[in-house]
Symmetry: C2
Subunit: 122 residues, 2 copies
DNA sequence: TTCTTAATGATATGTCCATCTCATTAATGG
DNA sequence: CCATTAATGAGATGGACATATCATTAAGAA
């Protein structure tokens, strides 16, 4: 990944514009609007590369494949719409949750997912 | 699933004794101790059936396959050890998290996963 | 105990996602 | 503008999990 290709730019642009974590197939669909002919293999290749470079972050939700969003935003969590299945960022965080763990367990991270209906699906 | 087979009993017993959510392959391994020859297909069949009957509940964690635990326990969350990968129940809950969602979004559920080291892996 | 047939066990098959292969295309250096 | 070769696109292949198939076994009724 040493060249700036149209495809790579289109992929990053698609994720940036979305403003929410996208599945590889969503990235493909979005990027194909500016770059017809774009292949799924190229999407996976670039997602993997940009992940390694730290340009993108992976978002894993229960029972879902990894989604990708731009890195840089601070600690946050996610909301999944139970109707359209799309995932959105949520800014807040309940804070320290160590107290919830059983005695003798060391907590050093957490993931939180909210479920419900997004604005468009209400 | 209308008959009480040794296999079915062994599967439920394995999950009960574990006291934590088990992966299908963990269920197989545990149940084979009392029922050698038990097949993975039987495990999947019975997990699915007991899930449908409400006897078991599925536990989905980010990036993980579904695990299974006995139903009945009240609202709770899970802890995954980053060393042994095992999953444990945690009793508490941070409470109402609706406030975290973006305006116009309706929250009606949440999942929380804690990560760290379990007692045995510290 | 015998009979009926649901359930099992071994393995084939299916599914979904991700990666690999390789001929072709196109991004940079000169 | 050319030459070099990284990157792409199409499709094959891989891998992990889950389900389907079917001959065999065994649970439960009589």
């Amino acid at each position: 990944m040493e060249r700036n290709t149209r495809q790579r730019a289109a992929i990053l642009d698609a994720i940036s514009r979305a403003g929410r974590p996208l599945l590889p197939r969503e990235v493909l669909a979005a990027a194909q609007r500016t770059t017809p002919g774009l292949g799924i293999a190229t999407v996976y290749r670039n997602l993997k590369a940009m992940l390694a470079e730290g340009q993108l972050s992976a978002v894993e939700l229960p029972g879902e494949n990894a989604r990708f969003e731009k890195s840089g935003s601070q600690h946050h969590h996610h909301f999944q719409c139970m109707h359209c299945q799309r995932v959105f960022d949520v800014s807040g965080c309940p804070g320290d949750l160590s107290r919830l763990a059983p005695p003798g367990f060391a907590v050093d991270g957490h993931e939180l997912t909210l479920y419900g209906r997004c604005k468009e699906c209400l």
